[in-house]
């Protein structure tokens, strides 16, 4: 047998100490799964559960000792799994927010792009999206990161909220200590964020975003002139609502806002996804 090689473009928590009865039932019910890879199916401790052992995701939103809503937890866009894939080939099926493609998909007239934005998007579309920073393994910039197919984890303290993100093991800081936004900051992927409380809503203000950021796969821009406001409401244990408001006169003719929902992810764990580990697709673009 002859062998031919085609030329290739590639050069080459700590443990639960006390399990209450419901959780014990859950563990017993999912015994074989619990022993599987890492902690992908390990019961999340300290959350209310139903008699069946399933998490009571409709339970009231938890609160901090100071009485504020506690957003801590692992979050993903509130999209269902695809039952049709349980029996069929669905290799490429992904759970994904529709806003990942078009952040303004729920707006009747779409996002109010300026002429500059329309030209940007025309070029980005003509190039098949290959200039998307996400394709090149760049950081998961917020607010886009809420819609990506990787998970986020919020860690909340009285003076700071930290948002961890699986993609490139990234982080974002939101200061809750009353400091003002910086003036004339060095632009960054996530910008600079402060938060304050309006009742039970956490209002996060962000400025200092880089001038060449994308908000979605179709290339909706967000620029250095942007002021982004995210209003976080935890509606229940299992559900968080985020209103994303963008005021970016360079990219949009008027301020706009959209609202997305995030679902709490329990009995699982964050999984590291370092994009540059083995990125190959951008090499396939070039010839």
């Amino acid at each position: 047998m002859l062998t031919s090689k085609h030329p290739s473009p590639f050069t080459s928590t700590s443990p639960v100490r006390a399990l209450w009865p419901a959780t014990l039932l859950f563990v017993l019910a999912t015994g074989p799964a619990v022993a599987r890879a890492q902690w992908l199916n390990y019961p999340t401790p300290g959350i209310p559960r139903l008699a069946s052992g399933a998490p009571d995701l409709k339970a009231p939103a938890p609160r901090t000792p100071e009485g504020k809503p506690d957003f801590s937890g692992m979050w993903f866009a509130n999209v269902p799994s695809r039952d049709s894939c349980r029996e069929k080939d669905c290799i490429q099926e992904e759970r994904m927010a529709r806003e990942q493609i078009n952040l303004g998909i729920t707006l009747k007239d779409g996002l109010p792009y300026t002429e500059w934005s329309r030209e940007q998007m025309k070029t980005r579309r003509a190039n098949g999206g290959r200039e998307d920073p996400h394709s090149y393994c760049m950081p998961p910039n917020f607010p886009r990161a809420w819609t990506l197919p990787q998970h986020s984890r919020i860690v909340q303290t009285p003076s700071m909220m930290v948002v961890l993100h699986e993609f490139n093991a990234a982080y974002r800081e939101v200061y809750l200590d009353g400091r003002p936004l910086p003036s004339n900051p060095n632009p960054t992927w996530n910008g600079y964020s402060t938060g304050h409380w309006e009742g039970d809503t956490l209002v996060i203000e962000t400025s200092g975003i880089r001038d060449d950021m994308w908000l979605d796969i179709q290339g909706s821009p967000v620029t250095e002139s942007a002021r982004v406001t995210e209003r976080l409401k935890r509606l229940s244990l299992g559900l968080m609502q985020i209103e994303i408001a963008v005021n970016d006169p360079k990219a949009y003719t008027r301020p706009w806002s959209v609202t997305i929902e995030m679902a709490l992810q329990v009995d699982t764990q964050m999984l590291e996804e370092i994009c540059m580990d083995n990125e190959r697709d951008t090499k396939l673009y070039k010839k």
């Binding site: 590639f10 080939d89 792009y113 083995n278 190959r280």
Partner: protein
């Protein structure tokens, strides 16, 4: 192009992307011809279980009796693990039938849409196990 045209185009692009049998984990997939289909049968030679996408390599004998090593792109290991897959789910030596969409610019490279064992049983089934609020 006026705003309405752009909005309609955006909606169309969104619909097409939503319907595409493709992963959007980190790239647009314009490097693949998603309207074409390739089907091969062969033996797994290597599984590259790394981010941002896993790759499976399969030795395939072509019409001339030559062995061609195909590269098939899969979703990210993270996505696959959440659907119950592990790095050992496919192993070198496994006999598989793979179908997918070929790369536009390179031979013997494709994105996999179906992998079946030698008996035709689908190997990539299952959904992410989640609790829905």
């Amino acid at each position: 192009m006026n705003l309405n045209h752009l909005s309609r185009l955006s909606a169309l692009v969104g619909l097409c992307l939503a319907l595409a049998p493709a992963a959007w984990a980190h790239h647009s997939q314009s490097e693949y011809d998603l309207r074409s289909k390739v089907e091969v049968e062969g033996t797994v030679t290597k599984v590259d279980w790394r981010s941002p996408h896993a790759w499976v390599y399969v030795d395939v004998t072509n019409d001339k009796g030559q062995t061609v090593n195909w590269s098939f792109e899969l979703p990210s290991p993270v996505t696959l693990m959440r659907r119950g897959w592990t790095r050992d789910s496919l192993k070198p030596g496994d006999r598989v039938k793979v179908s997918g969409a070929p790369a536009r610019n390179y031979p013997a490279i494709a994105i996999a849409n179906s992998i079946r064992d030698g008996n035709g049983k689908p190997l990539f089934t299952g959904t992410t196990r989640i609790h829905e609020p």
